[in-house]
Every structure is written in structure tokens, then in C-alpha cells.
């Protein structure tokens, strides 16, 4: 009954370091999303994918990269971490792109860049 699993839960990075935030879902969902939430703000879409091998930019893609080689996994890559990327990152998945189908969110990864 895992749903959407994100790892790690917490991470501190130094400026200029790189890391990959992992996201895996076991519901066979085609649609997957990465959001970031800054303090006092709503969630902003970084990247999304409508199926394996297909990704597209969201509202705030700069500084990030994604890949989708399998249906289950949708990792988010930060190449050169900057303090502006300090945020809580949420991965989500849904069965279809129909708006009223429920999107399931992971518990989030809290990233601090110092």
C-alpha cells in the first residue's frame, strides 16, 4: 500500500552540489508531477510526465532536469544547487490527465541549500 514514495525525506546540500530526488509510485499511473512549495506559498509545478519517455516543463523548470525511463520512477535532478532551491519538493501521480481524477502526493523532500 505504498502509493507515492519520495526519498530522501530531508537533505542539506552545499551550493554547487548536485543531487537526485527520487520518486516512485506503485499504482501504474501514467501521469507524474514534481512540485516545489516555498514557505507561505502554494505548490509550483516544476516538471511533469504523461508517460515513460515523455516529459515537459512546468511553471518553474530552471535549474532542474527530469527523466522518465519507467512508468514507476520519475527522478528530479538538481545539477548546481543554489540557495533559491531551498524548498519542500513534492512528487505526485495520477491515473489519467483528466483533471478530476485524484492526484496522489508523496510525503515530500525538505531540501536546504547552504
Amino acid at each position: 500500500n505504498a502509493g507515492v514514495t519520495q526519498t530522501p525525506k530531508f537533505r542539506i546540500l552545499k551550493i554547487g552540489q548536485s543531487m537526485t530526488l527520487q520518486c516512485a509510485q506503485d499504482m501504474n499511473h501514467n501521469y507524474m508531477y514534481w512540485y516545489r512549495q516555498d514557505p507561505g506559498m502554494g505548490l509550483k509545478l516544476i516538471y511533469y510526465s504523461v508517460g515513460a519517455g515523455i516529459t515537459d516543463k512546468g511553471e518553474v523548470p530552471n535549474g532542474y532536469n527530469v527523466s522518465r525511463s519507467t512508468t514507476e520512477d520519475f527522478p528530479l535532478r538538481l545539477e548546481l544547487a543554489a540557495p533559491s532551491q531551498t524548498s519542500v519538493y513534492f512528487c505526485a501521480s495520477r491515473e489519467t490527465g483528466v483533471p478530476d481524477t485524484e492526484a496522489f502526493f508523496g510525503q515530500g523532500t525538505r531540501l536546504t541549500v547552504v
Binding site: 502554494g42 505548490l43 509545478l45 504523461v50 490527465g97 478530476d100 492526484a103 496522489f104 502526493f105 515530500g108
Partner: protein
């Protein structure tokens, strides 16, 4: 440019009373609106949605109202319970891919 706005960062309500959370939007192309609830250290969870062709949707204690002419929607919780204390996000969807545009959130506190 904030396309979905929740202008009240917080709301405090007495248990048993009605909670009304408001949301405004600017993009008339939005075709679905959703409310998500978020507890600390957890991801958001879906609460209720409404299509742009409707003006009301009800699910138990939760009702969402949509006023398209005013580009405004609201979530009513009746009666409010302490377990409803959480951050509530309004979200809107338009176009392909099921992308959601979120508001800033309103933190609801229901006091016993």
C-alpha cells in the same frame, strides 16, 4: 502572476461552526477546480472538486461553490471539527496533462 489566489493566509473557527475558505482565479480557461488538504510533514490529499459547468458540489460535510462570473470559488465545511485543522489549497486545471495551478493556501484552525 498568480493565477489562483487565496487571500486569507489563516482562518480560526469554533468547533461545530461553519468554515468558509475562499479562492479567486484569473484564467477563464480553467475547467476544473480542486481543493486539497495538507497536514504538517505530509503531502497534500485530495478533498473535493468541481467542474466549471457546475456551480455546486457536495461531499458529506464539504461543499464547494463556484461563481464563474466572479471567478471565485469557496469551500464550506459544516460542521467544522478539530481534525479539520490543516492547510487547504485551492487548485485549478486547464489544458492537457492534468497540470494543477495552486493557490498559496489557507491555514484553518478549528478550536474545541
Amino acid at each position: 502572476d498568480q493565477q489562483v489566489k487565496q487571500n486569507s493566509p489563516s482562518l480560526s473557527v469554533q468547533e461545530g461552526r461553519i468554515s468558509i475558505l475562499n479562492c479567486d482565479y484569473t484564467n477563464s480557461m480553467f475547467d476544473y477546480f480542486l481543493w486539497y488538504k495538507k497536514y504538517p510533514a505530509e503531502g497534500p490529499t485530495f478533498l473535493i472538486s468541481i467542474s466549471s459547468i457546475k456551480d455546486k458540489n457536495e461531499d458529506g460535510r464539504f461543499t464547494v461553490f463556484l461563481n464563474k462570473s466572479a471567478k471565485h470559488l469557496s469551500l464550506h465545511i459544516v460542521p467544522s471539527q478539530p481534525g479539520d485543522s490543516a492547510v487547504y489549497f485551492c487548485a485549478a486545471s486547464a489544458g492537457q496533462g492534468g497540470k494543477l495551478i495552486f493557490g498559496q493556501g489557507t491555514e484553518l484552525s478549528v478550536k474545541p
